[in-house]
Amino acid sequence: MKIIISNASQDPIYEQVSKQIKAQIISGELNEGDPLPSIRKLAKELQISVITTKRAYEELEKEGFIDTVGGKGCFVAMQNKELLKEKKMKTIEEHLSDVVSDAKKLGVNFKELKEMLSILFNEEG
């Protein structure tokens, strides 16, 4: 598992943690049933506070990405294949909606955008 905290980021730290864990679950780097470090261990490794890691895990649990097994710790939750696909789509959708709003602001039209997308898709293996 890889987590990098940036102090310069506008995102609060708990969000950075939960986003990165979420991304790794969605991409498959973290598999169903994989154990996550305890909140205290994670706090120590990342040198952040215990409450921050607790909040990150709570967010992940709320969104269904992880499960807490009392006494044993936190594990990557069984991901419903459909639900997972949906989550993946949602992530891309969020990115795309940012791109669309930027494009509109900067005056890039739909045709130019589609071209750009096609070039990028073809070059990045």
Binding site: P12, I13, R40, K44, Q47, S49, V50, I51
Partner: protein, 288 residues
């Protein structure tokens, strides 16, 4: 989850200075930073907790028990480090340890030796020859060597170089792996606890300004920077403490959203550090 430390309406009157209606709690298993400038009342609060001075009002409960009635029982579970620890200068560390250790049922010599090694403290040199930093480290080693459930530290890093301050932080993280251990860390060097603290209690002029989760503090507070033309009677009310220079102003706010609505996008919004919060809150005239 219960509170390892519960302070309600604590009062101490010194005539020209008084600690007024202090209330805050520390839940078990977490670390709280008690911050404030010098003279704010941090040391007084800690002395009141340890019953070194008599309170004029209020209640203090430690481990759920009234702190005076169960004093001995409670203190056997507290490890303390004071600002300016005073030990016998004509004795060496081993001798001082031999005086203090017998008072604790749970004294762990192995842990003490480990810490002494880690801190590179000579056991046979008399304390008079110790640097201030070494005396501090000795106090820390002793405080952490009897399986204390609550560690109370008053400015434990003053006089210590930034390298040791980081090492101390590592030590505290290690301690907190045990969810039954709690730490109260009082300091004016806020960078020391900015990352590790779960809770922050800010004392200023004998009063509690806030006592809440650190994350919340850092999310709500911000430094707003902008041109002086933006300042008027109405906008000044949003700020707690302000610095005006020739080229603009910078001010602390505890409500970023309101500011955004009022002043729009003509301002720079920076993250506020605990030090910023302490500095700006301390300004007498908040409307500079």
């Amino acid at each position: 989850m219960h509170n390892v430390l519960e302070i309600k309406n604590l009062r101490k009157d010194y005539g020209d200075f008084c600690l007024d209606d202090i209330s805050f709690s520390l839940p078990e298993g977490f670390i709280m930073g008690l911050i404030g400038p010098n003279g704010a009342g941090k040391t007084t609060t800690i002395k009141l907790i340890m019953n070194l001075i008599m309170k004029n009002g209020g209640s203090i409960k430690i481990f759920g028990k009234e702190h005076i009635a169960h004093e001995v029982e409670i203190k056997s579970r507290i490890g303390f480090v004071y600002d300016n620890p005073n030990y016998y200068e004509h004795l060496n560390l081993r001798q001082v340890k031999n005086i203090i250790a017998p008072f604790y049922k749970d004294w762990d010599e192995a842990i003490f030796r480990e810490l002494v090694d880690k801190f590179q403290l000579p056991l046979k040199k008399i304390l008079k020859k110790f640097s201030r930093g070494m005396v501090m480290k000795s106090a820390i080693a002793i405080a952490l060597s009897h399986h204390a459930d609550l560690i109370i530290m008053d400015e434990p890093t003053s006089g210590l170089d930034p390298i040791f301050r980081r090492e101390l932080l590592d030590l505290l993280y290690e301690l907190l792996q045990n969810e039954k251990k709690s730490i109260l860390f009082s300091t004016h060097i806020t960078s020391d606890i900015e990352r590790i603290a779960d809770y922050i209690t800010f004392i200023l002029g004998g009063k509690i300004i806030f006592s809440t989760r650190k994350d919340e503090v850092l999310e709500n507070y911000a430094i707003i920077k902008g041109g002086k033309e933006l300042l008027n009677e109405e906008t000044k009310r949003f700020f707690r403490g302000m610095r005006i220079s020739e080229y603009g102003f910078e001010a602390l706010t505890d409500n970023v959203d309101n500011i955004k609505k009022a002043l729009g996008s003509d301002i720079v919004i920076d993250k506020a550090t605990l030090e910023d919060i302490m500095y700006f809150s301390n300004m007498k005239d908040h409307h500079a």
